[in-house]
Amino acid sequence: MSFVPGQPVTAVVQRIEIQKLRQGNNLILGFSIGGGIDQDPGQNPFSEDKTDKGIYVTRITPGGPADVAGLMMGDKIMQVNGWDMTMVTHDKARKRLTKKNEDVVRLLVTRKSLEEAVKQSMGGFPRP
């Protein structure tokens, strides 16, 4: 997941669809995010590359909509409903996730175990 300026970023992603839950006047998703281009990337406990300024999932409410949908702690969010999340400020990310007129958010998330799973499956390929 390291990022070279000017080169396209490639990653193995998982599509996660979360239905927002209505609690009183708010629509909540049930997780917390951290990171952003205006934040300090060195403090991120989940990133491999400590210069990575992407948006990471830092906490998941157990039993909440995100947990049900399969989101895991430490995931990096690459897209939300088609909008890019790799180069946004923290506030922008929050706004994209909490639009009041959307009930569903479709996230593209990536994590290390996905890459390894793909590698394993590809490594087993040549065998008949």
Partner: protein
């Protein structure tokens, strides 16, 4: 002597460092010449800090003494059956150094300077007095202006006298091998000055019996002014010029690698050598020849070599090939001497620490046996009369319990040559008198002190030889190397100039110091 025949061959050559042999050869050559021969162009010259050179008077007895020196001061010793303990050795050295007579050469320079300055100071007075004595009646009377000139003359002479006393009337600290150029220059200048003034005076005043007394007084006043300016010149050349640092000198002791860096200004090599030696005595730890040798058990393993057999029949020159093969084989062989060195060092450290612990405890306990008697306590207890002792007796009383621990510690750290029982007692007495704690008493023995601490206060001085490839009156410059040699070690001095500093400026507005917090927020969505 008996001993000589045993090692006239092998150990005589092999157990000496090259420099001491060279020194001995040169000393033999110089034995019959006068001391001025050193200025004739051979490059090894002698600095004598005041006193007689150690070996010149003892040259006939020097040889067997040198062999014994070789026994204790070189790293790899040859086979020499005659062994002498280190204590005897230092005792012998002390005897030699004390028995040499005071030489007169060291007083020639100051005596000459003294005469010259006396002559110079008396001259203006002579200029004033001579006309009065010789042709008083013919002189024109000269009232107030002359008296004003008398006053100024008197005060200037007083200032000259006091500053000469302050600056120049000091006992010399060193005798230099060649002429001290600036001092000679100044003495010549003073002499020429005064001589030319006398010449003028003699021709223009004494002969025609000049009648204008005021002119004579003004002439004398101008001489005193000129002398004051020469003294200013002397002050600048001798004292002030070398105060601004320009060079950094690295001084390394050749035997154990103790080194120091000093900053100094522009000086000639011989003056720089004296300067360095001044600081050597108080900065460098004392040279202990007993600490130099690696134990024989470690080094002797290297002595066994390989025997090389050549299997092919060719008789071509393969001696170099053989020696190279031996060196390569020796390098490839697994050499464990570093292992033994490491364990030997660790063992030695442990032993020293154990003995030190015993010593500290013994001394602390000994110090608890006595306490200071205050005035009012003397009459307070008539029932238990206590024996009142002076410091010397008190020191002797408490020395006994700690003597054994002290001796063992000194032996382990190989310092026993530097401290005799008498000196320990004297030091103990000193510490008791000044209310020192046991730790303060032990400070002298727990670490090697500067060389100055171990010097006896004899007026004979120390003999050092300045070895240099350049003439010793030339000024210091970059890359110069000279060494100061003593009998068993030498100090190698390297000169490097101090770097030129380009100082720039950067202005920081005090209002420009602003800070923000680093963000790491977490938002729940």
């Amino acid at each position: 002597m008996d001993n000589e025949s045993q090692y006239s061959g092998y150990s005589y050559k092999s157990s000496h460092s090259r420099s001491s042999r060279k020194h001995r050869d040169r000393r033999d050559r110089h034995r019959s010449k006068s001391r001025d021969s050193s200025s004739r162009g051979d490059k090894s010259v002698t600095i004598q800090t005041p006193g007689e050179p150690l070996l010149d008077a003892e040259s006939t007895r020097g040889d067997d003494r040198d062999d014994n020196w070789g026994e204790t001061t070189t790293v790899i010793t040859g086979t020499s059956e005659h062994s002498i303990s280190n204590e005897d050795l230092t005792r012998v050295t002390k005897d030699l150094e004390e028995s040499t007579p005071l030489e007169c050469k060291r007083f020639v320079g100051p005596a000459l300077g003294g005469c010259l300055s006396f002559f110079a100071i008396v001259t203006p007075l002579a200029f004033l007095i001579l006309p009065q004595v010789l042709w008083r009646d013919a002189l024109e009377p000269c009232g107030t202006p002359c008296e004003g000139l008398y006053v100024s003359l008197a005060f200037k002479l007083l200032v000259l006298l006091i500053s000469s006393w302050a600056l120049f009337l000091r006992s010399p600290r060193a005798t230099l091998p060649r002429f001290f150029v600036f001092r000679c220059l100044l003495m010549v200048l003073v002499f020429l000055f005064v001589a030319s003034y006398w010449l003028f005076y003699g021709v223009r005043v004494l002969e025609p019996r000049e009648r204008d007394y005021r002119g004579i007084v003004e002439y004398a006043a101008s001489l005193v002014d000129a002398l004051l300016f020469i003294q200013y010149l002397a002050l600048v050349l001798l004292e002030v010029r070398h105060m601004q640092p320009a060079f950094c000198l690295k001084v390394v002791r050749s035997t154990d690698g103790a080194s120091k860096f000093y900053n100094m200004g522009h000086l000639s090599i011989q003056r720089a050598a004296v300067w360095v030696l001044d600081r050597y005595y108080s900065d460098f730890t004392v040279y202990n020849p007993a600490l130099l040798n690696l134990p024989k058990s470690i080094l002797s393993k290297k002595m066994t070599g390989f025997k090389v057999y050549s299997l092919d029949e060719s008789t071509t020159n393969n001696s170099t090939g053989q020696s190279r093969a031996m060196i390569a084989a020796a390098a490839r062989r697994r050499d464990n001497s570093h292992n033994e060195y490491y364990y030997e060092e660790a063992e030695m450290d442990r032993r020293i620490r154990k003995r030190k612990a015993r010593l500290v405890v013994a001394v602390e306990e000994a110090f608890t046996h006595i306490k200071r008697l205050h005035e009012d306590e003397a009459a307070s207890s008539p029932k238990h009369p206590r024996e009142v002792m002076d410091p010397r007796e008190a020191a002797q009383a408490i020395f006994a319990p700690m003597a054994r621990a002290m001796q063992k510690y000194l032996r382990t750290t190989r310092q026993q040559a530097f401290h005799s029982m008498e000196s320990i007692l004297t030091h103990l007495q000193f510490c008791i008198t000044h209310n020192m704690t046991p730790k303060a008493f032990l400070e002298r023995y727990l670490g090697p002190g500067p060389t100055m601490q171990y010097q006896q206060q004899s007026g004979r001085g120390r003999q050092w030889t300045l070895v240099s490839e350049e003439p010793v009156t030339s000024a210091l410059r970059q890359g110069l190397v000279f060494s100061l040699r003593r009998l068993d070690f030498s100090l190698v001095v390297t000169v490097t100039p101090l770097p030129f500093l380009r100082l720039g400026e950067e202005f920081i507005d005090p209002k420009s110091h602003k800070f923000v917090m680093r963000l790491q927020s977490e938002t729940s969505v």
